[in-house]
Symmetry: C2
Subunit: 337 residues, 2 copies
C-alpha cells in the first residue's frame, strides 16, 4: 500500500511517498481503509525531531476518516464498509480528568498513522462518521476538534453567557474552538496578524476580530470589546507575552485555558491571578468521553470543519511546510489517492 513516511529527522521535506507492506488487524483492532487524513502541527514537530519518543521509520498522521476494511478477533463491529472517523488518542486511561502519560500515545507516533491507504487502530477508537460530514470534513476533525472541545467545554466550562477570546486564530484547534463557541452561543473575539485570516474567522461567526500586528493595544481592545471587565473565557496556545496579557485583561472569575505554547515561557503577573480569582487550566488532547462529546456536538449542530486545502499524497511535504510557516487557515487535508 502507499504511505507517507518519515525515515529520518530533518523537517517536512523529509516526508516520502512510499510503498510498504499491507496491514492486518490484530485482536481487538480494526483495519480502516483511509479516504482522507489531515495534518497537525505535531506531524511537523516530529519531522523536526521536536517530539518525545520518536521511532523511525514511521507512517505519520493522527487524523483520518474512511471505511472499515476488516475487524480483528474479538471485535463485534462496526461492519466492513461502515464510514468511520478515528479517535487518535490511544490508551488515554481510566481517569477522564487526566491521561495516563506513560501508557497513552497519539496515533502516528510511535504507532503507524493515517497517512496511508490503511491504518490499524484499537476498536474503541473507531466511531461512526457523523452523517452530515464529507470525508474531507470528517478527516479534519479528530485531533484538533478533540483538543478544542476539551479546552472549551470540559476544562473551560463554556456557557452561552461567556465572552470567549481565542488568540491567534488560524490553526486547527483555534478554528474548531471558534466554531464550537459560536454554536454554543457565546460571544467570540479572535486575534491574528493576518487580515485575511480575521476575515475568514468573521465569516465563520467571530463577533470581533483584532489584528495584533497592526494594533499594539490589541489586549486593551479585546478587553473593551468583551465588556463586563474583559473576556470570561480565554483559549490560548501562543504563550509568552500573549498569555501574560490574557491574564491581565481577563474578567474577574475568568477561566484561561492553555493547550500549548509557541513561546515556551510566560512572565505572568501574580496579582492578576489571585486578585481576580482566576482559573488557569492546562489541557492537552482529550479523553474518550471528550471525543464522544465532541462528535455529539458536531452532529447536533451539523457543524463542519474549516478546511484550508486538500492535497494529494505526492504533495505531503509541501503541505507540512505550509503548517510549519502557519500559512493555513483551518485544516490541511491529505487525499489518500
Amino acid at each position: 500500500m502507499k504511505a507517507v513516511r518519515l525515515n529520518e529527522i530533518g523537517g517536512p521535506q523529509n516526508l516520502r511517498l512510499e510503498t510498504i507492506p499491507d496491514l492486518e488487524p490484530g485482536a481487538g483492532e480494526i483495519l480502516v481503509n483511509v479516504k482522507r487524513a489531515a495534518f497537525n502541527r505535531r506531524d511537523v514537530f516530529i519531522t523536526q525531531g521536536l517530539y518525545p519518543g520518536i521511532s523511525l521509520p514511521r507512517t505519520l498522521g493522527s487524523d483520518g476518516a474512511g471505511v472499515v476494511a476488516g475487524v480483528g478477533p474479538g471485535v463485534a463491529g462496526p461492519a466492513v464498509g461502515t464510514p468511520v472517523v478515528i479517535d487518535p488518542m490511544l490508551n488515554w486511561g481510566n481517569d477522564p480528568n487526566l491521561w495516563d502519560a506513560k501508557a497513552s500515545s497519539i496515533l502516528g507516533m510511535p504507532h503507524d498513522g493515517t497517512f496511508a491507504e490503511y491504518v490499524v487502530v484499537p476498536a474503541q477508537n473507531v466511531h461512526p462518521k457523523p452523517a452530515h460530514l464529507s470525508d474531507d470534513e470528517a478527516a479534519a476533525l479528530p485531533l484538533a476538534g478533540l483538543t478544542a472541545y476539551r479546552a472549551l467545554v470540559t476544562r473551560g466550562r463554556i456557557t452561552r453567557d461567556d465572552v470567549v477570546l481565542i488568540t491567534g486564530i488560524g490553526g486547527g484547534v483555534q478554528t474548531f474552538a471558534l466554531l464550537f463557541a459560536a454554536y454554543i452561543g457565546a460571544r467570540t473575539i479572535v486575534t491574528s496578524s493576518s487580515d485575511a485570516k480575521l476575515a475568514r474567522a468573521q465569516a465563520m461567526g467571530a463577533d470581533v476580530a483584532i489584528n495584533y500586528a497592526t494594533s499594539e493595544a490589541w489586549a486593551k481592545e479585546a478587553r473593551a470589546a468583551a465588556g463586563g471587565g474583559g473576556p470570561s473565557l480565554i483559549i490560548d496556545s501562543a504563550g509568552g507575552d500573549t498569555f501574560a496579557q490574557c491574564l491581565d485583561i481577563a474578567r474577574p472569575g475568568a477561566r484561561i485555558v492553555t493547550y500549548g505554547g509557541t513561546s515556551p515561557k510566560s512572565n505572568v503577573r501574580l496579582f492578576s491571578i489571585f486578585w481576580k480569582h482566576l482559573d488557569i487550566l492546562g489541557t492537552s488532547m482529550g479523553s474518550p468521553s471528550d471525543f464522544a462529546g465532541m462528535l455529539a456536538l458536531v452532529a447536533d449542530g451539523k457543524l463542519t470543519s474549516a478546511i484550508d486545502e486538500v492535497v494529494p499524497m505526492a504533495d505531503a511535504a509541501a503541505a507540512a511546510e505550509r503548517l510549519n510557516t502557519s500559512a493555513q487557515f483551518g485544516k490541511v487535508v491529505l487525499a489518500i489517492d
Copy 2:
C-alpha cells in the same frame, strides 16, 4: 477609648496609641468590645502606603475577638455579653465564587478596625466564638484562617488523599493551611529558610520539612518526598521562581493555589501547565460561606491557632515591624489592655 492609629504613611513605626471618641452601632451594626486583635501583613502594607484606597487617620486591624457590647436598630442578636469573633470581609457580595471588587472591603481600611477597645461591624460579620478557643486563639483566626480555608478547601478541593506542599511556612495563612490540611488527613510538606520555623511546623503536624536556603534542590526534594510524581496540591504566596518551580514539580492533574506574591511576577513554563493538565487557581480572602465553613472546621477539630506572641497596645509598632521582617511563626496577637 484607646486605639492604635495610623495618621500618616511611613512604615510600622508610625502606629500610635491614642485616645479617640467612643463608638455607637448604627442600624444593622454591632458594637464589639475587643479583647484581642491580631496583625496581618496587610496592616504593615498599609503603614507603608502599599495598599489601594488608603484614607487616614484610621484605626487599623482586621482580626478581632471580644464580646458584644451593644446592638444597633434592627439587629436581633447575639445578646450583649456573647463572646464573638469577627469576619473581617465586608460586603463580599452575592456570588460565593467571586467577591464584588467594587463594593467589598476588609475591616481596618477604609473602615476603622479592631486595634481599639471597641469596633463597629455589620451584624452579619459577627459570629459566636468557637467555645474551645481562648481570646488569643480566636483573635488570631479570622483573616488568615479565612484565606487559608478558601485556598485549601473551596479553591484547592483538598481531600485526605492529597499531598500538600505549603511554601514559606511561618505567616498566618500558611500556618492555618498546615493546621487544616493536617486535620483533614492529607500528607503535608513545608518549606522555610529557618530551621526553627521548620521545627515548629513539624511539631504542628508537618510530615516533611525542607530548608530552601540550605538546599538548592528543595523543589526536587519536595517532589521526591511527595511520591506519586509530586505534590497534588500546592499553596503558594511566594510567587517568583518559587511559584514557577511549583508548577514544574506538581503531580499531573495537581491544583496550585496562589493567594499572593512576595515576588510579583513569575516566569512560568507553559509545558508544565498544559502537559500535566494543571489547575492554577487564584484566591484572595473569602466569602461568608468560606468563613462559616472555616469556623465549622475549627470547631469540629478543636483546632487552635499558632500564636507567635501576644503584645500590649503600647508595643503595636514593634509587633508590626516583626511581621515586616517575617520574623514571626504564626500570628502576632494584640492584647487590648
